[in-house]
Symmetry: C3
Subunit: 309 residues, 3 copies
């Protein structure tokens, strides 16, 4: 029996290195399989999606993953604007949806919502993003992309740049990287540094430096992970405009990078990466988006099949 | 040829006991079939949904039913907020949708809308809830749940409690119960008694008592069917608060019930059933929701296959 | 290899008569195929839809076409109201969506959007309506309907009536008709005549007359193509009311038509065709809608299969 069969995926922190590596192997297998064989993996199975906070991209990534392995998707793209919201409890909504489907992906604004849902659901729950820190399938996608593009995660120098305070992607990635022997540099404006409570937990597994200056590290990085800096996060626009420029990755920044470095971004991007470098061989963010389809398909395949696929 | 092949399902009143029993048999068959065999039932068929009044739950129940038997669903979850609403007639919308699909489920605020649609549609129409009284697939689901859980419907003592005036679910259920030899007790606040015009029709087939006091019947019931009491239905909030409490099913009420009684609810519930009794063996409302998937799959299977399945 | 394999469908102007005829043949084949065989055509393939301007009808036509040939659809029914719209570029949205799917249908308010998308997409793009003039799959559907119902397009007398200024359907149809030897009469209120810049292009391929008076032509037409006249297009309501009546097709107008003429309309209609003539043998607009499912299925089948189907 595979370790993921009928299991919930709530936090990247529940997954050890061995777990991650078995998802990566399953993902490579999905990529290599013939289309006919892939479609047997979830034949006759149904994924339910329940998005209390809309995220078109995550939903479509799951739907395309499910279609790839021959299954069907149905659900609610935006619970808050749906007729479900008549005062019904999360618990009841999850119970009913889980009786309609074989596996559920839940996205919610509240920390702990997915774990709560997993406790009451008859069917496995996948956390599709919740609260401030958890987005395990994004972290799996990110780690897989690094492994696939750089062959090994151990030994890499990884810079994470942008808004490190509000992006749940970053926290999940850092927890995931805690399973590997990597050198991590966090680069952000002072106001958007990683939260100290989370930093405390992350440091148990991973040491990292913090800096406001990307230039100090750029030429030495193997992986540059860029996130969006949102205007709304800044008390005044002047401050925003001042810092923004220093974290934009464009042709000049690219020149400073190692030839075999890779640039990642969870997307959507606004202007933190210039489209001028989209064709550079280091730019791997669209590949990263596509790998998300394969990692999710692999995860769904493992959850739905007792003996894997 | 099975009786439902290419037939419309407009009102529970169109279905006799024999019809209902053949849907129940087909439902039991769906439950027992292997997943592979189920998926042959609607292979290559498409269900269209056309919801002029959004109902996420009914839509998802139909979609999951269709997926279970191997078919596809597509449609409009909320016609009023879609681009279809440019003054086009219901008739035109139905004609076009029926040319895209093999069977249509229609939900509409107006009485008679489904029957009208059935007249002009090339394909079978299922009423997914219309006007004040008709929700035939909900009634089928409710009756199947009673039969499945109590083995027989004939001979049962059935209490229906809550808002009996505005809930179309209740009317459809009562018309359905008219086919059986049952003792029915309607329990509601004075202001939410069953409408007298409908009562007139129902009484032709079914005798029932009316009361405001659940305590008079609770210890004798085999089935307790609970519906929501909505605040909006009361002229003043004081009146609402006063009556609300007397119809809440919680641990104290449960203690008065027979050991083998069952509690049903069409869901969503707000607070008319306390979550404290969800684990009681009498609580069958989540099973009821799940059976809705199977009864709808059975009905679709019968409509789509000349010789049944 | 078939001419459409992995090709974009951006403008009807890119398609010659031979191209159109091969789509028509493929459509006839789709209609004639057994359901089992049809479903092999797109088995395991996924259509992505990306509608920046909502069009429920076009989306459902594509979804039903994809279901007919065994494929899956997923996408965004209204990008502007989705969470995608966080300042992301069209280019990024298209790149990500194309990594999730095998073929993309795009609808956009801007001229040139589809051609732009095609340049950056890894997967074929179908223009599902863009800007003021392009709606190639509607034109294919219209031309197929004419051919199917009249056996030949060459030699026909075709009247196009209504709003010829703002309807992109009309422009695409005229460009398509440019491949055939037909006599075309454009009939519209003065204010809604075909735009002169487009007229210039169209006249290179096609000669037509322009008139405000339908009665001059009605008894001689083989095909009457009716479009909606929208109130909003008129500076004052009085003007609108005045012209509206002269272009309504009802029983009186029908009597003037040839016995074997056909009446088409891209739908939705409001009151420019009276429902009183829906059952007349000349009324072919609902057939036209249904053919849209088959022409789109044929087109998708050709795009997705190297050697056709």
């Amino acid at each position: 029996m595979n370790d993921f069969f009928q299991k919930d995926i709530i936090s990247i922190r529940d997954l050890g290195k061995e777990n991650l590596e078995s998802i990566f192997s399953a993902t490579e297998k999905i990529i290599d399989l013939e289309s006919n064989q892939r479609r047997e993996i979830a034949r006759g199975k149904t994924l339910g999606y329940l998005f209390f906070e809309p995220s078109t991209r995550t939903r479509l990534s799951f739907q395309s993953a499910m279609a790839l392995i021959g299954g069907t998707s149905l659900g609610i793209a935006d619970v808050s604007s749906s007729s479900v919201q008549k005062g019904e409890s999360l618990s009841d909504t999850v119970k009913v949806m889980s009786s309609y489907t074989d596996v559920l992906v839940l996205r919610h604004t509240l920390d702990g919502s997915s774990r709560f849902a997993a406790e009451i659901s008859q069917k496995p729950i996948i956390n599709g993003g919740s609260g401030t820190e958890e987005h395990p399938t994004q972290a799996i996608q990110d780690l897989f992309t690094i492994k696939r593009e750089k062959k090994n995660i151990d030994g890499l120098k990884i810079g994470i740049v942008g808004d490190l305070k509000y992006g749940r992607t970053v926290y999940s990635l850092l927890y995931g990287l805690g399973n590997y022997n990597v050198e991590v540099h966090l680069i952000s404006p002072e106001a958007l540094r990683i939260r100290s409570d989370s930093a405390y937990d992350i440091k148990k597994q991973l040491s990292y430096t913090e800096s406001t200056n990307l230039d100090d590290y750029i030429d030495d990085l193997d992986v540059l992970y860029v996130t969006r800096i949102q205007k709304e996060r800044f008390p005044d626009e002047e401050e925003y405009t001042k810092v923004k420029g220093s974290y934009v990755i464009g042709p000049d920044m690219l020149k400073k990078m190692k030839d075999d470095a890779i640039i990642l971004h969870p997307l959507p991007r606004i202007d933190e990466i210039s489209p001028d470098i989209d064709d550079a061989k280091q730019a791997k963010y669209f590949e990263q988006a596509e790998y998300g389809k394969y990692t999710r398909a692999a995860l769904l395949g493992l959850i739905l099949n007792e003996n894997g696929f």
